[in-house]
Symmetry: C2
Subunit: 570 residues, 2 copies
């Protein structure tokens, strides 16, 4: 029981020196690798760069205690940063104290929601984001984020949370391009794209071992940061108008007590919910994928608690909403992390950096960070998935296209809400017209098949109607219509048998419809029977008056109904 | 085609003198009967009483043209009046011109939505309100409306749209009870309850014929109105503090051009949508019930257009949102209406009243109207349905209870939204854990049954897994888990056969899950096969790469899979 809620107890007692060595190495590598992206995502959310470091510290320790994935690395991620910025800009001015406070309030709210969902075992909720919707949302968010970085790469001002806002803002300032900034941005962009696409092969060609080559290629952003920081410091580029990170306060994250302002919470409620869901889906799908690679398992409900605790930790340490990040997790996994202790070591590393080394980041150009974001975010754009979905299912594609369009034009919240609503709507629409078939007997057997597709025996005074879906409120009326149409078009009918072999559930609405069908058939002199009712469904029916009212019988098999009814009434 | 969108063309050409006589009589009766409730519902919505008359005029003509029900009577109804009041009070002050304008804007918006939904054939949307949710919503609304009338019956001021608001407001003013008002209110209440419960029997006992007795008993509100108006006029009760209807402008409804103010529309969007849905559900379920009694049919999609046109008509004639009303429809049906022409005659009657007879209503006490509403609304409270639902299904009951509680405590909008969300949520939760079973062969046959329930043959290296539900995003992951658990617990497995006889759909998310299952089983040396894939599902799969990747085969029947695989690999 305790182990279930504190997964650390499952691995810590068996911790060995070998695991320690592997985790420590991974921790050191992650520390160095995630500094650029942590700073970048904080800036993307409109927050001071240091907030990104704060959010990569305590949350990691919390996840080490409560998380079930062995390799997930928690911290600020691009999508959540974008969503955070979009939410905060509605309640406070970027740069103000209120904005910082709202960020911790958002993290707290989202953390509480995640933890509550975990305790209530609502992990299954994540299933309601269909794959095409997730993929469409990530693609559109990637495009949005890349566009939002264009201003930083060009050295102009420009902001917004929709493509329209961004386009207007960029066009208005396009004349003010700051060429030195653009040079740094474009240089980094080229270097990073090269490292990502050809780096490993290039290094191996130069004689570097395969593992090291892969690691160095991944460290592209670190080299870019070091090189451009040195450049910027050497030539005092900040004085020439190149935007740099500037002063980062030294020291551990200050304790923050998130605002308990009710109107603020009310305004952040929906954004916090969406951030929680998107963060959870991103994190858990990656966690499952990586766990599968090592034949481990993660528990979605405990993951909710783990991510919830990480966000609460972010909230009390001046951070921002966090989740399991794609790129930092892949780095952690590739660097050989074996247990969540690797996360704790990375937290210690980041702690060391904030304590002592932040002055080194002073001259880091913002354009370098923008290039880092742009390159890493474009992996989210999944054109192959778009093509596949189009080929496979037009309605899934419609949900995906709507998600992409709304995310781009109306922003991340509208996009994700529209996507979920459409997925659910399309599904309900499909099941609201359940498949049903009139069946007949395969001659000489006890089998019954669809009359429209097979050569089968039938008699005109008995209709054997097989219903291929559970009966519930959304399709109850459709069933009524089907039966009434059947009876209206076959005046010689004496018996209607509903074959319930595929009916796993009859809810209260469907029960009322069955009542109505029974009464209406009675008026027309037609008897209603049921056949092949499953055990649990039958138990339920016995709790209602339906079986007393039923004009006909409940047959165990279609064959026994057939044998009993095939002789017409005298 | 034209007939489909103008159903009047289906009956007008065959109109006879006999039908004319019947419709004319029904029209006259409806005119007299609906005056009290039309006034009362307008007051319930916080509007001047005359708006109720206006809304019973042009909308009826519009429905006569576009509606498909032969007997539905359109006009203001209690629930919509309550919802209208709750919506308008957020955007304007009752009594102001802005409030009146918002009412027509709400009617227009709701009319446009209904008509658009009709043209887009979205009538099936109404199915998403499950019966228990509708019944819970009506019950709670009935209680709310009855409570809101207590102030008028007691002659005190008191208002609100939740039981809390109403209770606070009533308690604060309870000391100011106006005894003459209470006397009129209580007198009417007693009289109306008596007429409703015993009136018909009493009149028959006095020797009145059955049909006439029924009609007179239903006319209770008319007698109450006439008697208390005369009383109030005779004794000048208005001067003694009894609230009366007061001056009602004479003349046909003035033309109104609803405000096109965008922020106002935005605020009214959700209320208009809810009013449209609730109005449609109330109207269409009653229409279907009555049509069934006379073996007629109504078309839900065309009904949307009919109700939409009625609301647009209300919007341009200084009215309020309307729909098919329960009590006025029953009156119309019982009075023998044969075609929608009865509605047109009632509209003419109401027109005559607004033109000439409104001064007669000047002295009508508000308490009389309150008594009328209270008695008619209590038919909505359906305790039997609550008990039945409790017995039959706890989850349906939970949705119903939440709807009732939220409607009472948070108001009609919150109630209906919670009800729909819960219904859909519960359904998705159920289908997100699809029923599946490992099956084995019934010895000596080609039948396969659940191994857990029947004595069947099986071999340890083949798992025959029957999935009893369509595969889609919400249950795709559950299927993955099921298969992985199966493989993990049966190391001797060589083949997994998914029997898809109950699978009517595999959406894009489920396809990805099947891909993942296939890849993961391949890693473990297990072959994945499909069996009994339905035609349409197979066609879809052929549009994807899945069949190329599939490690095993697609078998036509479970038996052929069994015959092929039952010999272990060499």
């Amino acid at each position: 029981m305790l182990k279930r809620y504190l997964p650390i107890l499952t691995w810590l007692p068996h911790y060995t020196l070998r695991l320690f060595g592997a985790d420590l190495l991974a921790g050191v590598i992650v520390t160095i690798m995630v500094i650029p992206q942590s700073l970048a995502y904080a800036i993307l959310a409109g927050l001071p760069a240091v907030v990104g470091l704060y959010a990569s510290l305590l949350p990691l320790l919390a996840y080490t205690l409560f998380g079930t994935s062995r390799t997930l690395a928690v911290g600020p991620v691009a999508i959540l940063a974008l969503m955070t910025g979009a939410a905060l800009v509605n309640v406070a001015t970027p740069g103000s104290t209120a904005y910082l406070e709202a960020a911790t309030a958002l993290a707290l709210l989202s953390g509480l929601m995640l933890a509550a969902m975990g305790l209530m075992k609502l992990g299954f909720f994540a299933n309601f984001l269909s794959h095409p919707v997730i993929s469409g949302f990530l693609t559109a968010s990637g495009i949005l984020i890349a566009t939002s970085q264009a201003a930083n790469l060009l050295g102009i001002s420009g902001s917004g949370f929709t493509v329209v806002e961004l386009a207007v803002s960029l066009t208005a300032n396009i004349a003010n391009i700051h060429w030195p900034t653009l040079a740094i941005g474009a240089g980094c962009l080229g270097f990073l794209v090269l490292m990502r696409s050809r780096g490993k092969a290039l290094l191996q060609w130069l004689g570097v071992g395969k593992g090291l080559a892969s690691l160095i290629a991944k460290a592209g952003p670190v080299f870019a940061v070091v090189a451009t920081t040195l450049l910027s410091w050497q030539f005092a580029l900040a004085e020439k108008g190149v935007a740099v990170v500037g002063i980062i306060p030294q020291g551990l994250p200050p304790f923050s007590f998130p605002s308990l302002d009710l109107p603020l919470w009310r305004e952040l409620l929906i954004p916090a919910l969406l951030i929680s869901i998107v963060g959870f889906v991103e994190s858990v799908s990656m966690g499952q994928m990586l766990a599968a690679k090592r034949r481990q398992r993660i528990s979605p409900n405990q993951e909710l608690i783990g991510l919830g605790s990480a966000n609460i930790a972010a909230a009390i340490s001046s951070g921002m909403p966090v989740t399991g990040g794609l790129s930092r997790t892949v780095i952690n996994f590739d660097a050989g992390a074996q247990t969540p202790a690797a996360g704790a070591f990375a937290a210690l590393g980041i702690g060391l950096v904030t304590l002592s080394f932040t002055p080194l980041l002073h001259h880091l150009p913002i354009a370098t960070l923008a290039a880092t974001i742009t390159v890493s975010i474009l992996t989210l754009v999944d054109t192959q998935m778009i093509r596949q979905t189009w080929r496979y299912s037009r309605s899934d594609f419609a949900a995906m296209a709507a998600t992409i369009a709304l995310t781009l034009v109306e922003g991340v919240e509208a996009g994700i809400i529209a996507g979920v609503t459409l997925s659910i709507g399309l599904f309900l629409y499909r099941t609201s017209r359940p498949h049903s078939a009139l069946v007949g007997r395969v001659p000489g057997t006890e089998h019954f098949r669809n009359m429209a597709r097979h050569e089968v025996e039938s008699v005109s005074h008995v209709a054997l109607l097989r219903v291929d879906e559970s009966l519930y409120f959304a399709n109850a009326r459709y069933l009524e219509d089907t039966v009434y149409t059947l009876v209206a078009s076959h005046p010689e009918l004496e018996h209607v048998v509903l074959i319930c072999s595929a009916v796993n559930l009859i809810d209260a609405s469907a029960l009322e419809s069955l009542d109505a069908i029974n009464a209406r058939l009675k008026d027309s002199g037609v008897t209603l029977h049921l056949a092949e009712v499953k055990g649990p469904v039958m138990d339920r029916l016995k709790n209602s008056d339906f079986l007393d009212e039923l004009t006909g019988r409940v047959f165990l098999s279609t064959y026994s109904a057939w044998s009993e009814l095939k002789q017409p009434r005298e």
